[in-house]
């Protein structure tokens, strides 16, 4: 042996073997794994930061006290990236609570199993419109609604009253108010350092498209249209959408109507402008109520108004979270108990009040009244908007790429104030959206 293997070659051999073992370990198996019960507590993941996680933890503590079922909960801020890692090891968490918009992506990746709506206790208390948002391209149900919300318009009440202006009822009013906030020194410090609207106009994560969608719908436009049977088509270059985008561009191109740097601002950069009293108008989610109350020094500093009307109506973007059951879930009985609790009146209330930040914003269970539970009339505005004039992004398809191309197109259009580029830019966007729909086999 000694004569055949020098220490050097022996070392190299060991190395090769180790490398081969590692590599084969990395690429083991490519078929979908079977779901099996490993006897561990049911694992639940949700997209949640620190504050939301404490609410989830408190809620599941109540659940365990009631049912005796142990839950292993993880709040994961970068949920989709972490899910990819788990997917690679073929062992997803049993239940995932995430945006309703994630459904299309998850079904395309094969993460989810169908949910039988009739097995969910109290399924009739959840509106049919919400159940419809949990349908995949094949028409089957792939999730259970958990929480909903709409965007709301918030305005600096003290500024508006100081300038003696009325609550805006239309987009024109809103625009006038924005200009007034920028030019009439509403904070009275003698300097022109205030601006109208707080806009996350960055293309990052498609923020620009997310923010703009409400205003486009209010003029009867939009990015795409549901043609039924899991098919969609782009509507980005219709006259209605052009009208909406023209109004948005006007805001970017009137100095002061939007905050400086809006074109490259994600929400983390934009929101502080409102929080520090630099802007007076913001269109955002109601989860910001508590942080704005703190940073602005009280609820009376700003008001949550009914959404100003566009040329057609006052539609706002609705979003929410669903409960998803994953394909590697081997615990049907515990899963059922968790779902039943989460959508029950008790579970929904716990999600609203058990911790610092509500994880159930507007409850999906019609027995629970948000304004009453929070004892805060601002939530009634959200609840009404959700009921009467809201619209969600389609969840059956993977909407992320569409949001991304829309944000890139809108950002480009509003960045060039000198050019007459609304029609041409939207025509390109229309093509891009249709291409993406074709890629997803969802083009009508």
């Amino acid at each position: 042996m000694d004569s055949k293997f020098t220490p050097r070659s022996r070392g190299a051999l060991a190395f090769t073997l180790a490398a081969a073992a590692l590599l084969s370990g990395c690429s083991a198996g490519s078929s979908k794994p079977a779901a099996a019960d490993d006897g561990q507590p049911i694992e639940v993941w949700a997209r949640a930061g620190t504050d939301a996680s404490t609410t989830y933890a408190a809620m599941f503590k109540e659940f365990t006290a009631k049912t005796g079922v142990q839950v292993n909960f993880q709040g994961v801020p970068d949920l989709d990236q972490q899910l990819q890692t788990r997917a690679a090891s073929k062992k997803l968490p049993d239940i995932v609570i995430n945006d309703s918009a994630a459904l299309g992506n998850y079904t395309a990746q094969g993460y989810l199993v169908k949910v039988d709506k009739s097995t969910v206790e109290g399924n009739a208390k959840i509106a049919d419109s919400l159940w419809n948002e949990t349908k995949g391209l094949d028409g089957a149900t792939y999730g259970v609604p958990f929480s909903r919300q709409t965007m709301v318009t918030m305005i600096r009440k003290d500024w508006r009253e100081k300038l003696g202006l009325p609550v805006p009822k239309t987009q024109e009013d809103l625009e006038k108010l924005a200009t007034a906030f920028a030019t009439m020194d509403p904070d009275g410090n003698g300097q022109a350092d205030t601006y109208g609207m707080t806009v996350p106009g960055s293309t990052e994560r498609g923020y620009m498209a997310w923010w703009a969608s409400s205003y486009l719908w209010q003029d009867g436009g939009g990015y795409l249209k549901d043609e039924g049977n899991g098919k969609f088509s782009a509507t980005a270059s219709t006259p209605e959408t052009q009208k909406g985008v023209t109004w948005i561009k006007q805001q970017f191109c009137t100095p002061g109507n939007t905050q400086p740097g809006a074109l490259t601002a994600a929400t983390s950069v934009a929101s502080p402008f409102f929080q520090t009293g630099k802007t007076g108008i913001i269109l955002t989610g109601p989860y910001n109520f508590s942080s704005f109350d703190t940073s602005l020094g009280g609820k009376d500093k700003y008001e949550v108004i009914e959404t100003p009307k566009g040329s057609v109506d006052s539609t706002v973007l609705a979003e929410g979270e669903n409960i998803y059951v994953t394909a590697s879930n081997g615990k049907p009985e515990q899963t059922k108990q968790v779902i039943n609790y989460l959508v029950s009146a008790d579970g929904q209330k716990a999600g609203m009040t058990a911790g610092k930040q509500p994880i159930v914003r507007v409850p999906v269970n019609s027995d629970v009244d948000a304004a009453a539970v929070y004892n805060d009339p601002r939530w009634a505005v959200v609840q009404n908007a959700l009921k009467n004039s809201s619209k969600a992004f389609p969840s059956a398809i993977n909407f992320v790429p569409i949001k991304q191309v829309a944000a890139e197109a809108l950002n480009k259009i509003v960045a060039d104030c000198g050019a007459d580029n609304v029609a041409s830019g939207l025509k390109d966007l229309d093509t891009a959206i249709n291409n993406e729909l074709t890629n997803q086999n969802a083009k009508s």
Binding site: T6, P7, R8, G11, F15, A18, A19, L22, L23, C26, S27, S30, S31, K32, D80, Q81, Q84, A87, A88, K90, L92, N105, A108, Q109, G110, Y111, Q191, D193, G201, S202, T203, E204, R205, G206, P260, G261, A262, L263, T264, A266, V269, A327, V400, P401, Q404, E408, N411, K412, A415, D416
Partner: protein
């Protein structure tokens, strides 16, 4: 050799066989073993964290990646979609402009700084440390600070200074024409001190007597720079250029923090495009293909720079 030797000719192989080899005894074997033992931790780390992920990246670039359902082999489709994507091509243009501006800018500024701050005095040591600070500061922090400095209204810090000399206000990061240059300035600001240190080391190696004799011969400062300093600095400059070329192609953090690729895609670079495809659109296959292409270009560029330098040195 054909002329009859007095002793029979022996081939080298025979020679090693017939004469006792240099003792490959216990001492030598232990020596080799020690080398491997010392090498092992680094090798394992490199294998695990560098070579395996690299191989995996190359593998993924040939697949439609869907971890749970199993990846589907698509050949070179991902490469085709990168190379035909208009936004990637735009990003390539921006990357090259940004890379060239930052590389040349940081080299010139670093060189000037090095000339100004060469010497032994305590005060110079303090100044050099202060100027080196941007290099050791996290780029994400640097980005946030420059975002504030670049605030695009008349009362933004930089615009205030510009107004003293009757310029501005400029849009900086918010303008499609100015955003890329604004990022380049941040890159130069944070990259130049690094170059300064390398060039300072080069300067220290130049014989002062050369300057003195040039001075005696009546050479101007410019001539001394041109014919003494620059030729002596060639190795240092080659290192700086090679490092800068690699670094500038991979520039990501400053762009991501400052503009996220906006406004209107005017600052989108290769890495930010790759990031948004891979992690925001979940298209890992295409993103991996883009990464492999970047690796190939970086490799070519590095080898190219080295070859060029070697040829120049040989001449």
């Amino acid at each position: 050799m054909t002329a009859a030797p007095t002793k029979p000719a022996v081939t080298p192989v025979q020679a090693t066989r017939s004469t006792p080899p240099p003792r490959r005894g216990k001492g030598n074997r232990a020596h080799v073993l020690a080398i491997w033992v010392f090498l092992l931790p680094a090798a394992v780390l490199a294998l695990y964290f560098k070579f395996i992920p690299m191989a995996e990246g190359i593998r993924l670039s040939l697949f439609k990646v869907q971890p749970f359902l199993g990846d589907v082999f698509v050949g070179f489709d991902n490469y085709a979609s990168v190379l035909t994507d208009a936004r990637f091509m735009e990003a390539l243009g921006h990357t090259v402009i940004l890379g060239l501006t930052q590389t040349i800018g940081a080299l010139v500024v670093g060189f000037v700084l090095a000339l100004l701050l060469e010497g032994q005095a305590k005060s110079l040591w303090f100044l050099r440390t202060a100027i080196f600070l941007p290099v050791v500061t996290a780029l994400a922090v640097v980005g946030e600070i420059w975002r504030i400095l670049y605030f695009p209204t008349a009362d933004g810090p930089l615009n205030t200074i510009l107004s003293w000399v009757g310029l501005g206000p400029l849009q900086f990061l918010n303008g499609t024409d100015t955003a890329l240059w604004s990022i380049a300035v941040v890159g130069i600001w944070s990259g130049a001190p690094y170059n300064m240190v390398i060039i300072l080391a080069g300067l220290a190696g130049i014989d002062r007597a050369l300057y003195e004799s040039a001075g005696v011969d009546g050479a101007t400062i410019w001539q001394r720079l041109r014919y003494i300093t620059l030729p002596a600095l060639r190795p240092a400059i080659v290192i700086v250029l090679t490092l800068a070329a690699i670094r500038s192609l991979r520039s990501f953090t400053e762009v991501y923090v400052l503009t996220g690729g906006g406004p209107a895609g005017s600052t989108e670079v290769w890495m930010t495009r790759m990031y948004s495809l891979g992690f925001q659109r979940n298209d890992i296959g295409v993103a991996s293909a883009a990464a492999v292409l970047l690796l190939v270009v970086t490799l070519l560029l590095t080898v190219g720079t080295q070859l060029l330098a070697r040829r120049k040195a040989e001449r």
